[in-house]
Symmetry: C2
Subunit: 300 residues, 2 copies
């Protein structure tokens, strides 16, 4: 297993309404990930609200997580920022606090060219010696990587992995074959988009970058292991318990749902940062029912 | 004339490579706008790189601009931010420094719902008594306003204007008719996308939110006045001198071009913030030729 194999679990980063990280609650969430033995923790991903946090609060979150994990689970930290110098500062902060790897999103305001994204990634990768995963999620970063750019980036030292969006029509075999053909051996190809990731693992993807794994790590590990074993019947069975949650993820975006679920489970009373609104009581009720459905999968 | 009528000129905000605003150079750029008697200054718009600047640097830029302008030209300030509380801080900063109006972009990372954008705008509009313009530019903010949302927002106190992207196929008449029908009398409808804005003014739009006006205010005022007078022949004549610049704006994005142009004119030695790259020498040469073409329009 390398740093970027298996289930990478992305927790929320609970904050107060002023954006100050509640490190106690964060560690309580991390404790669930340690106990479930997820393969890595993905701190400060999109679910972790990195884009909404100041550098100081991001430093506090990383320090608390690294101290709490103490090397028991590898720690991957999101260091995306609009400016290259800022992303470099954040990469150094992550390294200094004890991160094992970095996740870099090409956050954009002015739409970026391929060359700009290439140089941005090289600059950040060179800043620390840490292995870096390319965060490819056009839905949030508003940048679409071409195959040529991924190929070029995969040849940069330290750039070791890519987190891909789900392929169209779940065509994982073709997507993986094409990516493998154009990236070095050992370059880790993984997916995000929870509802499709078990199929990605079955097709041979290295990693499931998972929102649900950050809050329901036991159940997500079950799905991961069945998928890694290629047990399609068992995957189908386990996946059926997740279905109500997948429906909500697609309807509201996964961030809004995991915040509501963490509230319902009394694991956190935090809300996403405004302007993102909490769910209505009726929709929260739907989340509660989806959690009940997942509970029926059983704890072990 | 109201605050949101005519040519609103958006200058770059020159900074050093650490993102510190060069207020002397900014004021030199503003002086050109004062002399050309543009109708308003749009500080910290997309061209002004607001998304890349810290709150402190934004404060410095606003204070310098407000002091320099001293009420000679109305000052509209961009206060977009990912978080509602941050946008509210920025709105207060702008008001305290002497801004006459605000421009608010629904900057997003997690894609926003209509209700979230509505509440975000209401929260910021309520924070100050300043008239506020809705910044509708899906290309940078990644949010698309529905007509229903614009209608709802136009009824909020202080929300006095909208900056629209160019309508498809230059269908300004239909676009304006539809917007007018759904917004209160006096609600100012303007456009950005420099190459189409003269046509927008001819069709009766209130405002041209202009990148080119931030650097070439004399020429942009000529185009504005001809368009406002409905003199289509004169508009066509003037516009022909802008054509090489429009071609470059469309090819590279206007931000990269105006930075290069300001460098060529020795008005500023600043570059956009990395990861945005300066133009290649060959492309800079094209910008120089476009400036020469515009020069042939003559200064008066």
């Amino acid at each position: 297993m390398t740093l970027f194999d298996g289930l990478s679990a992305f927790p929320i980063t609970p904050t107060d309404t002023d954006g100050r990280v509640d490190t106690n609650t964060l560690c309580r969430l991390l404790d669930r990930l340690v106990k479930a033995e997820v393969n890595s923790v993905g701190l400060l991903g999109s679910t972790g609200g990195y884009a909404y946090l100041t550098r100081t609060e991001r430093q506090r979150a990383i320090a608390a997580a690294a101290d709490f994990l103490g090397g028991r689970i590898p720690l991957i930290v999101g260091v995306g920022a609009l400016r290259t110098d800022e992303a470099q500062y954040l990469a150094r902060d992550a390294r200094d606090a004890g991160a094992d790897g970095l996740l870099l999103a090409p956050v954009s305001y002015t739409p970026l060219t391929e060359e700009e994204v290439y140089q941005h990634f090289v600059a950040v990768a060179e800043t620390t010696g840490l292995p870096l995963c390319i965060y490819n999620n056009p839905g949030t970063t508003h940048f679409t990587f071409s195959l040529e750019l991924l190929e070029r980036l995969s040849q940069v030292e330290n750039i070791a992995a890519v987190k891909m969006p789900l392929p169209k029509d779940d065509a994982f075999d073709a997507d993986l074959a094409q990516l493998r053909q154009n990236t070095p051996d050992g370059f880790a190809i993984g997916y995000s988009g929870d509802w499709g990731c078990a199929a990605g693992l079955i097709a041979g993807a290295s990693t499931w970058y998972s929102v649900v794994g950050g809050l329901f790590p036991v159940q997500a590990m079950k799905l991961t292991k069945a998928a890694q074993a290629g047990d399609t019947d068992e995957v189908k069975r386990i996946d059926s318990f997740f279905q109500p949650l997948w429906t909500l993820f697609k309807e509201f975006g996964s961030v809004r749902i995991v915040y509501a679920a963490a509230n319902i489970l009394s694991l956190s009373d935090a809300s996403p940062h405004l302007p993102i609104l909490p769910l209505s009581p009726a929709d929260q009720q739907r989340v509660a029912m989806a959690i009940e459905a997942l509970d029926r999968l059983g704890p072990d």
